[in-house]
């Protein structure tokens, strides 16, 4: 019995950091409507700075002072980020906001390694809380008790701040209607900045308070942000009480999940999250939102099928690509295959995102499941390659069917957070379930059959599949299904009014996109000869998003160009620098701020401008970001 009580208290103590970070995220979202993906990064920087400060400053005062100064310092960094970056994208579609803050996260991951090195850092114990308390023969660290008391205290302070101060009243008013607040003479800019500072302070404090419990390392940002997303999905985004209750719930589920399913404890959290989503899609304490701003609409060109000339041009491009083996070496062909596979992956996400308006931040899950599907079939069942290629993607299909069912219950930022959380769950299973997946060591020796073994044959295979997939998805855009899907994207309510079952259309699209991604993953397994958890990791999901974004979200097939350019750049970049995440993150931020319409969108815009010589300052073209609202 005592053991369970202690386990319960451990869970409560873990909830403290989770609550701090989640409440910060919620507060920021409430006012700015931005889901700050970089919140995990601020948490991590808070921990690193606190580590350094508490090492340097001695004594009790040095320790606690170091923690608070670290959180304040990170809040200042947050203010700079808000003023330099976020102010430019408050009116951008939410997809761009998510991506820009994600780009920041990537940059921070490389920066902390650059500054603090790649090794785990073990911090000082908290003065006055070094010991443990005996509870019927079980030990409870006294620092845990401190954290357990801290959460409700912070909750109370936040409550007072929001209910009893003018700032709090303004923040609550802005959460409902920020334009009206401005129309009453309040400077929104500073209100937003101050809210962002408070939210970041809470995240950094959460990170700083973690150091006596856990080592500081450069992957702690993703771990916390995924848990925080789960917390806000369960508790309701924007609700501080919800963040508190859900943080406790998730922490307890983790604490006891370990006892029930030691290998895959995350399953329990997933089950609870799924249950909450079915009963209350907006979380336990959340409120249903008005339909959020969409992924960008068609502000450039209405979509149309290709003209016969364009078809010929595309065919010619394909033929030229097919001649690569005539003059290129093996390395170039392998790169070529990888690019072709990226095209498959990118068009599958593009289909979901641009046609369906559902921006998935965890699309790699289905790519990776396709790869694992092949590996299981080839290694365990020993099936021939052609059979594996046909059946392997079914694992991606099944994964998409299960997760997609829940994901399409939500939209906008919730959809993004949920898909990311699902992908992370799949990743954890692949990583933790060593007996089946090989864990970190992956599954090796997935080699293609002899007919596809030579680099040129494999290249032709990949190219052919990529072409088929692109054509098939494109045809689907202009099919009745495609029109129905676009209708659900453009107006969910109206589409339901004309008798479209929006959820089932979106679910179908999710499954199609997941299966297609699985096809890419299946080829990828054979290309590399192995499968690793990274094949369904977050960075791969982000790669896909960037490819789509780079090609242009608003185009029909921009993802093809985006994938080719991005993958080629990426392979080149990785060979050139160790700081590829820093460069990639900076690159994402740059695209979002400077080229929100992507390569193909830009080209179309230029072509259109030349054609019509549109009037100067034409409202559609003048302010690309604002008008996309």
């Amino acid at each position: 019995m005592a053991f369970y009580v202690v386990q319960f208290l451990t869970g409560l103590a873990s909830a403290a950091s989770l609550f701090l970070v989640a409440s910060g995220l919620s507060i920021i979202f409430g006012v700015t409507r931005i889901v700050n993906f970089a919140h995990g990064a601020f948490y991590m920087i808070g921990a690193y700075i606190a580590f350094t400060l508490t090492e340097r400053l001695s004594g009790t005062f040095g320790f606690w002072g170091g923690i608070v100064i670290a959180a304040l310092a990170v809040a200042v960094i947050g203010v700079i980020v808000e003023m330099v970056l976020l102010r430019r994208i408050y009116h951008a579609p939410e997809l761009f906001q998510l991506l820009a803050t994600f780009g920041l996260t990537l940059m921070v991951e490389d920066l902390v390694v650059l500054i603090w090195g790649p090794d785990d850092l073990v911090g000082r114990r908290a003065p006055g809380f070094k010991g443990a308390i005996d509870f019927f023969g079980q030990n409870i660290p006294s620092y845990d008790l401190f954290l357990i008391v801290l959460s409700p205290v912070v909750l109370g302070i936040l409550w007072l701040l929001f209910q009893r101060t003018r700032w709090g009243v303004l923040v609550r008013a802005a959460t409902q209607d920020r334009d009206m607040v401005a129309a009453l003479g309040v400077n929104q800019k500073w209100l937003f900045t101050s809210v962002f500072a408070v939210g970041v302070f809470l995240a950094a404090l959460g990170g700083a308070l973690q150091i006596p419990r856990d080592a500081v390392h450069h992957a702690m940002d993703l771990r916390i942000i995924v848990e925080v997303f789960v917390v806000v999905v369960i508790g309701g985004l924007g609700s501080i009480i919800g963040a508190f209750v859900a943080a406790v719930l998730v922490s307890e589920l983790n604490a006891f999940g370990i006892l029930i399913f030691p290998k895959i404890s995350i399953i329990l959290v997933f089950l609870v999250m799924a249950a909450v989503l079915i009963v209350r899609p907006w979380g336990l304490f959340g409120k249903p939102e008005a339909p959020a701003r969409k992924t960008p609409g068609l502000t450039v060109n209405p979509w149309r099928p290709l003209t016969s000339n364009e078809r010929l041009a595309a065919l010619a491009a394909l033929v030229i690509a097919a001649t690569l083996p005539l003059f290129a070496g093996n390395y170039a062909l392998t790169v070529g295959s990888e690019i072709a596979i990226s095209v498959i992956f990118a068009v599958s996400l593009h289909f979901l995102m641009s046609v369906g308006g559902l921006a998935s931040f965890g699309h790699a899950a289905y790519f990776g499941l396709g790869a694992y599907g092949v590996a299981f079939l080839a290694k365990m069942a020993g099936l021939p390659m052609i059979v594996c290629l046909l059946l392997g993607p079914l694992l991606g299909c099944m994964g998409a069917a299960v997760f997609g069912f829940f994901a399409v219950q939500l939209s906008g930022v919730y959809f993004a957070m949920l898909t990311l959380a699902f992908a992370q769950i799949v990743w954890s299973i692949a990583f933790q379930w060593v007996s089946v997946t090989g864990g970190d060591n992956g599954i090796l020796g997935v080699w293609p059959a002899s007919w596809a073994a030579s680099p040129s044959h494999f290249y032709w295979l990949s190219l052919g599949v990529a072409a088929l997939v692109t054509i098939a998805l494109r045809a689907m855009v202009f099919s009745p299904f495609g029109y129905a899907l676009r209708a659900t994207r453009d107006s969910l309510l109206r589409s339901e009014a004309v008798g479209i079952n929006a959820k089932s259309i979106q679910w179908t699209a999710f499954v199609i996109a997941g299966t297609t991604a699985g096809i890419g993953g299946a080829l990828f397994a054979y290309l590399k000869g192995s499968v690793f958890p990274d094949n369904l990791g977050i960075s791969l999901s982000v790669d896909a998003l960037v490819m789509v974004l780079l090609g242009g979200v608003e185009t029909v097939s921009g993802a093809v160009i985006g994938a080719i350019v991005y993958k080629a750049l990426n392979i080149w970049l990785v060979s050139q620098t160790d700081l590829s995440k820093l460069v990639l993150g900076g690159f994402i931020v740059l695209i979002v701020v400077v080229f929100p319409k992507g390569i193909v969108g830009m080209l179309e815009m230029l072509a259109q401008r030349r054609r019509k010589a549109s009037p100067p300052g034409s409202p559609l073209l003048a302010k690309p970001i604002e008008s996309a609202e």
Binding site: G185, Q188, P619, S627
Partner: protein, 234 residues
């Protein structure tokens, strides 16, 4: 002149809504902006306070051109705006709603306090702690005006204050507007209801499909039944 609008043009996306709007409001005057549904009254107000991004023209408030300034600065200069949709903060209590509108005292404008507003709108005084979401339409209309007055404006743009209100509440509204006028607040009120406008206004402009097509005193308007019948539905 308190407020002078010249050559105001506004767009929503590709749609051109306002065409060369021009009008004037004198110190302490109540001016009505009359027009049918969709004529452009609300767009005119929103453009003046900078809530329509795409606008051009000159907006002189107390001798200064405010057309390039952000909304909150225009409002802080003393140009209050009461939106047609009321836009009460539904989760905030009456007192908190007023708090959001509070601005420092201004030398050239009447100073409003909570108590003064509660005597202007007695209903509000009886529900200080009620959330805005649980008030009737008429009470919300009073609150939205009171909230703007908390900013001590010297001019107020009132967008269709009588819309959807019972005759009894409309009477209270007339009283309140006349009190505001007596205190020295200049007012532009948009209306479809000519009878209501007549009770409070010194002069009127008529707007039709984004263009001003009449301007003059109430008496001059009454002398032109043709214009009245062509542009207003009574």
């Amino acid at each position: 002149m308190k407020l002078t609008v010249q050559d105001l043009n506004s767009h929503y996306g590709p749609a051109h809504i306002l065409f060369d709007i021009g009008f004037e409001v004198g110190e302490g005057e109540v001016v009505a902006l009359l027009g049918r549904n969709g004529a452009g009254k609300s767009t005119t107000f929103r453009s003046i306070v900078g809530l329509v991004a795409q606008r051009s023209g000159r907006i002189m408030f107390e001798g200064k051109d405010v057309s390039a300034r952000p909304t909150h600065e225009i409002v802080r200069d003393g140009l209050g705006y009461v939106p047609e949709e009321r836009r009460i903060f539904t989760d905030l209590t009456v007192e908190e709603n007023l708090e959001v509108g509070r601005q420092p005292k201004r030398p050239n404008a009447p100073h409003w306090t909570r108590d003064k507003l509660f005597s202007l709108f007695p209903n509000l005084g009886e529900m200080k702690n009620r959330p805005g979401g649980r008030m009737s339409g008429g009470e919300q209309q009073m609150l939205t005006i009171a909230r703007t007055l908390m900013g001590n404006p010297s001019l107020v743009l009132l967008d269709e204050p009588s819309e959807g209100l019972s005759p009894k509440i409309v009477e209270q509204m007339v009283e309140a507007i006349l009190t505001m006028k007596k205190e020295g607040v200049s007012i532009v009120v948009s209306e479809q209801n000519l009878h209501f406008a007549r009770l409070i206004s010194d002069r009127a402009y008529i707007i039709e499909r984004g263009r001003i097509c009449f301007g003059g005193t109430m008496a001059e308007l009454d002398a032109r039944p043709d214009i009245r019948d062509a542009h207003l539905s009574l």
